[in-house]
Symmetry: C2
Subunit: 116 residues, 2 copies
DNA sequence: CTCATCACTCACCAAACGGGAAGCGCCATG
DNA sequence: CATGGCGCTTCCCGTTTGGTGAGTGATGAG
């Protein structure tokens, strides 16, 4: 079965606003550069701001902050400040974030196979 | 299991270019406005240019052309011209397109459940 | 006291993107 | 011969985006 018509069925003509369909909204978010990458790197476990910067060569602090804020706002990532000598900020996936990462992993696997 | 580390594993530091990881590339594409929507509408079956325009209120001919060209270029959609009285152009999903739509459907279902 | 670190934030600016309007080529019909 | 429909394409222009570089605040080390 083709997942039948139960999927996008409720957002056929994209009613009023700009983004109405849930899936499209998430796709737009994930398609925004770095977001999926950050999600991926955090799946290793909690990481600090600086550690993320190191793993994402080319990202500017401004953009990294923006993306992290977006991920937190969508409930995919938690932000935890540690008031220490040099302050530490730890970012980690939420359950929701883990679930979403799973779906991205599926896409990744499909891409691998279809590319060949 | 969390799909373990077999997924993005090969694109850890995004080597040289702009988009290197397969999944991120596809996400960027799908996240581009209208693309997923077009895919969705085509899953009903073959549609003509004008029919797509009707189903995607707000899209301009320019953007629809661009998106369709992108979908064709990625092998998700076929374009078939019919030289008739008023010319007809039919767009339909390829096998690859159908597979990708499946994955989007999964995302959609996840979004539905997690939103609640 | 000075300096360095961490995690940002702010102001500025060029480049890219995206939408709207209008035009085009082809053919059939009136 | 003029008109109309279909499927685009081209041009223009405002908005957004992302990068850069500098600055901030708290704290501990030298």
């Amino acid at each position: 079965m083709t997942t039948s018509d139960s999927s996008f069925a409720q957002c056929p003509t994209r009613p009023p606003g700009p983004e109405s369909c849930g899936a499209e909204d998430w796709l737009a978010f994930l398609g925004h550069r770095w977001n999926a990458m950050i999600l991926w790197h955090l799946s290793e476990g909690s990481l600090r701001y600086g550690a993320l910067q190191d793993r994402l060569p080319g990202i500017s602090p401004k953009v990294l902050s923006e993306r992290l804020a977006g991920l937190v706002a969508r409930g995919l990532v938690t932000r935890q400040e540690v008031r220490a000598a040099p302050p530490e900020v730890h970012y980690a996936l939420t359950q929701k974030g883990i679930e979403l990462r799973e779906i991205i992993a599926q896409l990744y696997e499909w891409a691998e196979n279809s590319e060949a």
